[in-house]
Amino acid sequence: MERHVLVVYPHPDDESFGKAGTLALYTAAGTPVTLICGTLGQMGRNMGKPFFANRETLPVLREQELRDACDVLGIRDLRLLRLRDKTLEFEDPEVLADHVEKVIREVNPSLVMTFYPKHGVHPDHNALAEATVRAVARLPKDERPIVYGSPVTQNAREVLGPPDVVNDVSSVLDTKMGAIRAHKSQSQAMLEGVQKRMESDPEFKEQYSKFMTQEAFWIVPID
């Protein structure tokens, strides 16, 4: 059992897509989870379907969606850095790492989850993943938590090999879907598309169900 899990992602919803089941398993087992969210996703393109947000209301809505998702997942410690979406790669990487290091030293996690460096696709994913690795590398070797990376790149399996950890989250699938639905502005259009396709394409339905019940992580080597 993990002592404490620290989760570091740049956008509200990053913690839910592809990871919410794993987080739900941790909180169900009584492991405290701390989530650092770097930005408010101010520059997101999805505004709901039909859209109900605009560029100026989006950050306020997304902050609430994130709080709702945390409630669903049993995450009771949420730290918002309130940086600006799409700008993390332009911040001083040492300062970004300072934010993460401060929380690591405070909560002493046995496991840290972030995106896999250089495999995040979104520049914010890569910047915050690299800052997280940098923060962990500042600790003495024997005090470092394990770091789970989530790659987004299409060729991750070819480049990184098979995942180190695959969690079956079927027992908490409803919770996972609840967290994803909490991010209504970001998930509504996607879920509608998936639903339509599942109704007409049994093969896709099977693939998608498998995809949703398995969450894969790669251990990130430090230094």
Partner: protein, 116 residues
Amino acid sequence: MGPIDKEAVQSAIERFVGQEVYLHLETTNGAYAAHRAESAMAVCAYIRNGKIQFERGTIQGDGPYRVGLKMDGGWTYAEGLTDWEIDSEGRLLLAGNDSEGRLAVALELSLTPFPM
């Protein structure tokens, strides 16, 4: 926000003429455009809280609409605008949203800085 009323937007633009205004101008095809093969590359540009002054501002087209702001020695331009709102803080928000509810372009004017 609702569908653009061209005359109402024209009047709203004119309220900002000759004043120092804060501009948010943006266009994006999404950070995952290339990843999802929707496009050859992800493209985005934005300026937030650029300070401008314009002497003439006009909305054109039959929908989606274009807006051009003629500045002293330059232009501000946006194409693909579909929706508008004057929000509770008196800011003019214009956006181009696609059929999936995604924002593709935004042009916003305010007399006070947009929050960071």
